[in-house]
């Protein structure tokens, strides 16, 4: 047996119409218009001509073969079908030149296809354009049966290799494919619609396990695979090729592979795999003209023979095939404009599948995946995107991705955390949480805004007010670093007063100029010493407690010296006069005897000096810090305004509320009217989405007086449940018109069904209500 390992071809001299292999597949017969030759595949991968059955020109039309078939049982028996309707049977054993055994001229028109019974080599079947199929007994050399197609010209007939009495036929009108039992010549066993247009070819699967499978191909460019049965035939697969299919042949021992050739345009031989229907598994491009016939070597499915109009007979080795799937890019990748990375790929492990398309394995098909790219360089948390992949069907992956049923607004409103202290979260944590919420919604810019906020304000907006002592680094000029804040203050004060020779440092006027200078980051207040407030005197400034916080308890911890701009001194000189009695500068007179002892005259002109002094002494860093925050505030303000203007009030309001939920004094320079507008819009939206909890929370956390008012404006109107009239003040539980008939039914509690005589509590939207106690217990339960 020849083991061809590479593709070989031979030119036979003229166009070939058909080919057929002998039983052990090492001899090939090719037939054409004036051609009938036998080639042998030699072990050296050569095709050698061993016989030429076409002698001279006298055979005429009988020799113009449209098909040839070699008996699979009898190695010496060959039959050819001619375009004039004649079937010639050849005996290769015959001595001499004339090997013609018989000429059967029963058909009146071209015989398109002949088939010899796989077990009985004397039984020959033919199909013809004259719309009939005939059975011949080669021993009698005559027709023994005729089958009327009742359809159209016969395109193809083929005995089933395993069903002894069965053959299939296909027709020109295409829509019919018939299965016959040749013992019944009256009518077919079954017939079914196969293709649109002519069905040029059909092929039974050569493997016994697949005995019921037939592949058909036709003008409609589709190869269809049918499962034939006694009762019904059903299409189990199809391959959409790009040109009309003139021949289809199953690959032996491969249940899912078949080879096809095309009737026109495409000269290549394609091998398809039913599991990948759209692109050939392999193809051969040896021919330069239409390929007319193909045949697999029955005992070696790695070898395929093909013949063509270009006169060549080719023995193809599968290993030489061009395998387009090797060139296929199975992934798609794209980086989108919004930081999205798109990726399309298969779900299965590609290498395993690609290397053995023949191997079993579920047909896993692709999903498409997108990644969002954000840039969180602080903690690098990845958010959890739950994703389930179900591979339920053969044809498709069902990918259930996380979908947000609510639209983004509602989702964000529900999931944003606004009240940091209540949740015991640091500002950074809060921002990160909110950032994740935004990222989940695909709002990466908003997500980024939260992260930026976290970076900017983390050190400023703190969970607990007392921690503000970390707000500004303590001046490094402090002589003793171990001293506590208060002591340092004293030291500083003392030293300043020493150098300046003025103990009258107490009174400074806080003014707007000052505030703007500091960008309102920290509302520094300098206290007049008119009341000789010891505490205040000692301070150059301190951080004001935020609204709503009491000053007294935390005050000592806030005493931090804050160096600041020169204006301080200008105002100082003016106030100097007002503070007529010279007073000690220290907070605690006892602790600073030096200052109290020396009563030095005031020299306002010397003031600029300590300013420089302070400047020198305090770190540059600190000053930058102040400056930085000024810029930050402006930036954040611009940002929130931008967001609001672009139609997103949720983010700015959430930011404002989140910041103000902390006991901090960070305020953004947002005009109150504008902020109020945002809040109102946002509250409206929340109300519209029935997000009452969030609605209330925003009101509660807002610092805008007008917004806070909303929660306190709670005039309660009591009205009659039946007629909706105001209840009289005298009798708050019953209506004036209670004597009317429609008022007879008393107001019942929805829960306990008893009459409500006292306060009737009800929901504003659904008017469900009842006793206060009932409602309370109900809300507790339903929580």
């Amino acid at each position: 047996m020849a083991l061809a390992k590479y593709t070989t071809s031979v030119n036979v001299g003229s166009a070939i119409n058909a080919l057929s292999l002998c039983q052990n597949s090492n001899k090939i017969v090719v037939a054409g218009r004036a051609l009938l030759k036998i080639y042998e595949a030699e072990p050296q991968n050569q095709l050698k001509e061993i016989a030429n059955l076409h002698m001279g020109r006298k055979q005429g039309l009988n020799m113009s073969s449209s098909d040839v078939v070699w008996s699979s049982k009898d190695e010496n028996l060959i039959a050819t079908a001619a375009t004039n309707g004649a079937i010639v049977v050849w005996d290769l054993n015959a001595v001499g030149r004339n090997k013609q055994l018989a000429v059967l001229s029963d058909h009146r028109r071209t015989v398109t296809k002949i088939s010899i019974h796989p077990k009985e080599s004397t039984r020959l079947l033919s199909g013809s354009q004259d719309c009939t199929m005939r059975m011949f007994d080669l021993r009698k050399k005559e027709s023994t049966g005729m089958f009327q197609s009742k359809a159209d010209g016969v395109r193809s007939v083929e005995f089933s290799p395993f069903h002894y009495f069965m053959f299939a036929a296909s027709f020109d009108n295409g829509s019919v494919q018939q299965i016959w039992d040749y013992r019944q010549s009256k009518t077919y066993l079954s017939q079914f619609l196969a293709h649109k247009g002519s069905v040029y070819t059909l092929n039974w699967h050569p493997d016994e396990d697949e005995r019921n499978k037939i592949a058909t191909g036709g003008r409609d460019n589709i190869v269809k695979v049918w499962e034939t049965g006694t009762s019904h035939n059903k299409q189990i697969s199809n391959i959409p090729t790009s040109t009309s299919v003139s021949a289809v042949r199953w690959r032996p021992s491969h249940k899912d592979q078949l080879a096809t050739v095309s009737m026109m345009l495409d000269f290549s031989v394609n091998v398809w795999d039913l599991r990948r229907r759209f692109v050939p598994y392999a193809y051969f491009e040896e021919h330069n003209d239409v390929t007319t016939g193909i045949a697999w070597k029955q005992n070696d499915p790695e070898v395929l023979f093909s013949c063509s109009k270009d006169g060549t007979l080719v023995m193809h080795a599968m290993q030489d095939a061009i395998q387009p799937w090797k060139k296929i890019k199975t992934r798609g990748l794209d980086v989108g404009s919004r930081g999205l990375v798109l990726f399309a790929g298969e779900d299965s492990n590609i290498p395993a599948r690609a290397q053995s398309p023949t191997g079993s394995g579920q047909n896993k098909l692709p999903g498409l995946f997108g990644w969002g790219v954000g840039n969180n360089n602080s903690t690098l948390k990845t958010h959890d995107s739950t994703q389930e992949i179900n591979q339920t069907s053969q044809t498709m992956d069902e990918i259930i991705s996380e979908t947000f049923v609510d639209d983004g607004f509602v989702y964000a409103a529900k999931h944003y955390l606004l009240n940091g202290p209540e949740n015991d979260m640091s500002f950074r944590k809060l921002c990160e949480h909110n950032s994740n919420v935004a990222a989940k919604l695909g709002e990466f810019s908003v997500s980024r805004v939260w992260l930026i906020l976290a970076e900017f304000y983390n050190s400023v907006v703190l969970l607990k007010q007392k921690m503000t002592s970390n707000f500004f680094p303590v001046p490094k000029t402090c002589s003793d670093a171990t001293l506590d804040g208060t002591k340092r203050t004293e030291n500083e004060t003392k030293r300043n007063s020493d150098e300046v020779s003025s103990p009258h440092v107490q009174s400074v006027d806080p003014d707007s100029e000052f505030q703007s200078d500091e960008g309102r980051l920290e509302q520094l207040h300098l206290f007049r010493d008119e009341d000789l407030d010891n505490e205040a005197i000692a301070l150059f400034g301190h951080i004001d407690a935020p609204s709503g916080m009491t000053n007294d308890s935390e005050a000592p911890k806030q005493k931090i010296i804050t160096p600041h701009g020169g204006r301080w001194y200008e105002t100082q000189t003016s106030t100097q006069d007002s503070s007529s009695p010279p007073t000690p500068t220290s907070m605690d007179q006892n602790s600073d005897p030096l200052a109290t002892g020396k009563k030095l005259s005031v020299k306002p002109s010397v003031w600029p000096l300590p300013l420089d002094d302070i400047r020198n002494q305090t770190t540059v860093e600190e000053l930058r810090f102040v400056h930085f925050y000024h810029h930050v505030n402006v930036t954040i303000f611009t940002l929130t305004r931008y967001l609001a203007e672009s139609g997103d009030v949720q983010t700015p309001v959430s930011i404002l509320v989140a910041i103000s939920s902390y006991p901090t004094n960070v305020t953004l320079e947002i005009p109150e009217a504008e902020a109020e507008h945002w809040f109102n819009s946002y509250l409206d939206l929340l109300f519209k989405h029935e997000l009452f909890v969030q609605h209330a929370e925003v009101i509660k956390l807002s610092r805008l007086p007008s917004i806070r008012m909303l929660s306190s404006s709670s005039t309660i109107h009591t009205s009659c449940k039946v007629c909706q009239r105001r209840m009289p003040n005298s009798c708050s539980w019953s209506c004036d018109h209670r004597s009317k008939p429609d008022h007879k039914s008393p107001v019942l509690c929805f829960l306990c069904k008893k009459v409500v005589k006292t306060l009737y509590l009800y929901c504003q939207t659904c008017s469900f209500g009842g006793h206060l106690q009932c409602m309370q217990s109900w809300t507790k339960l339903s929580k």
Binding site: K327, D334, V341, G345, E346, G372, N376, S401
Partner: protein, 312 residues
Amino acid sequence: MVSVINTVDTLHEDMIHDAQMDYYGLQLATCSSDRTIRIFEVKNGTQRLLSTLQGHDGPVWQIAWAHPKYDKMLASCSYDRKVIIWKEQEGQWNKLHEYNDHDSSVNSVCWAPHELGLMLACGSSDGSVSVLKHHGDNQWDATKINNAHTGGCNAVSWAPAVVPGSLIEPPSQNQQNNFVKKFVSAGCDNLVKVWCEKDGRWEEEQKLQAHTDWVRDCAWAPSVGLPQSKIASCSQDRRVIIWTCDESTGGQWNSKTLNEFDDVVWHVSWSLTGDILAVSGGNNKVSLWKEKLDGDWSIVSDIKKGQQGSTE
């Protein structure tokens, strides 16, 4: 931070070969072996199928969106040797032009930068690259570079139109409208080639040789006009190579291996800013790379489908 934000069930019946977001990131086009192209609207993490484009007789390998100034236009290439240009008109996608002058599967399509007009480069398995140019009124003419890559061309990518270095040294007045007209192609001959147009003909400007196996994909980095041009190429030899060329130093291309992966690298794609490179390799892995100041490349993120993004 990188995370899977969405997976799209494309309903394709076979493998997806390419997926591209449009300019605004609102629509998604996918193409598949099942011969169809599907257009999705992607919004709020959900997607809606807008259109299914049928017209190819073979697997569709790659798709490309044209710049939005030419309206919604899509080019696709297929195993059926055709390149089809599609256009959306009143919500309907129609075939605008069909180009079938290739002798084998067309593997890659890429639109030229919009400054150059409507121009499309197509790379085919027959080894040739053709450039289609629109002349108004749906007239397209094609220039074909025969035998650009022996064994087939796998990918084409246009250079940005902005002249390298123009950000630093603004071009003189007479140079103002001089856009760069170049593209890079990658092929089965293990080569990456740079092509430029001279007097209406395409000439091979550079042959970049470093890969030892088929070059699968190449991508010219977007640029704002810095002097350095960058090309990324990836190959069957499992390497990704970054090619850089500094116009000021004589236009010599230098190669630097980004990384050797443990599997075939299929795709490379630059971010819009040209500083992050996405690489898709075996096992459905996508990694993102960023150039450090010292010129080395470091991995920013490593994603595997169905898995959390891990970050370094």
